[in-house]
Symmetry: C2
Subunit: 219 residues, 2 copies
């Protein structure tokens, strides 16, 4: 029954999963993913909220290593371009970071947003048209949490030229690739996010991100 | 320990929470939310993934009823404008739907994205600048799942003019209001999403949203 209450133990399991979810790059193992497990994860993604129940997402499962090598090449180009944007010190640090596991993980999932699905007028999307994209992002986060609950790692590859990615995967014009995710078993989960652990940036204090009633005047 | 494995029972609790999460409008109760519960939910949101560990989000907690009445007014205007976009039949159906609980729920949470945080060059955001917004959406989804795990309802008000919302909440120019959420106790959770239950749209079949290797040629 989907209207049941969640017990305290169940709640704690949800928090454990949310707090231990990581963006995985280095720790992927090549072991294949059981199809029943993948189906459960995708079902969780498909049960994300969507504006006007639009369900604008698709999930392209990329296993073919030749395709993944092409995606990796697109990453390498975008990554090199990005490295040049930082100052010398940051750039050196940046180049040392492992930022994707495209060919190490056994598969990739491209989560897309079909901007014309159930259109042209979608209930709830009339004021803020980007809410369709937001819906696909909610699907990404559901997928990520479900994967962690299955002890699988997910890594979001955001350093990529979407024009190239669309060409490689044959994605039509009206569809936006929202995320390219690597999915796989892991040697272990890190206790902290890579960028926090390596001192790139600290986690912000909760008090600094929560405001009462209004945005404070002095910020 | 945040690198522990998730057990089968814990996994099932996560799925139960994901599948029973609803976008709540009608079922809000006025009962106040315990501060410790609200803090846990916000902590879960703050542990969302973010591009370059940017953590671009803020959470404005809106309890003041005068502020919420202003937000409700902004909704009513946007809602009326939207109703005129549908054809006669859909428009009548649309007007009967309850689409927000702004004044019924005891509080609102505006989740924002500060597009200049830790900028100007954010690691991972160099190819797709909107990934900062995506990060704030991930925080929304973490918040929503955590709230369901606490047996609290969340309703996303997407029918609103963001220019008005920014003015009401004093949000500066470089910050985007990504979501205005109502949060509260509920009389009950619905078994199915409102728009599915009322026949607005069916849930898509899983097979129709999952593709192998590439976007199929004939779509």
């Amino acid at each position: 029954m989907l209207n049941e209450l969640i017990t305290k133990d169940e709640r704690d399991a949800v928090y454990k999963t949310i707090f231990s979810r990581r963006d995985v790059r280095k720790e992927f193992l090549p072991d294949p993913i059981q199809d029943t497990v993948l189906q459960r994860i995708l079902m969780a993604a498909h049960h994300a909220p969507s504006v006007g129940f639009m369900q604008p997402w698709n999930f392209i499962i990329v296993r073919n290593i030749e395709t993944r090598k092409k995606i990796k090449e697109a990453f390498v180009l975008a990554h090199e371009k990005a490295a040049q944007l930082f100052d010398e010190e940051k750039s050196q640090k940046y180049r040392k970071l492992k930022l994707e596991g495209i060919t190490e993980a056994p598969l990739g999932i491209c989560v897309t947003c079909d901007r014309e699905r159930n259109g042209p007028i979608v209930i709830g999307r009339t004021s803020i048209p980007e809410t369709d994209i937001y819906s696909s992002v909610c699907a990404v986060q559901n997928l990520w949490i479900a994967a962690r609950a299955e002890n699988l790692g997910v890594g979001w590859v955001s350093i990529i030229d979407n024009v190239k990615l669309k060409k490689i995967l044959g994605i039509p014009n009206h569809v936006v690739p929202v995320a390219y995710l690597c999915l796989g078993h892991v040697s272990h989960f890190q206790e902290k996010p890579d960028l926090e652990r390596t001192g790139w940036l600290p986690r912000l204090k909760m008090e600094s991100v929560v405001y009462d009633e209004k945005w404070p005047r002095d910020t």
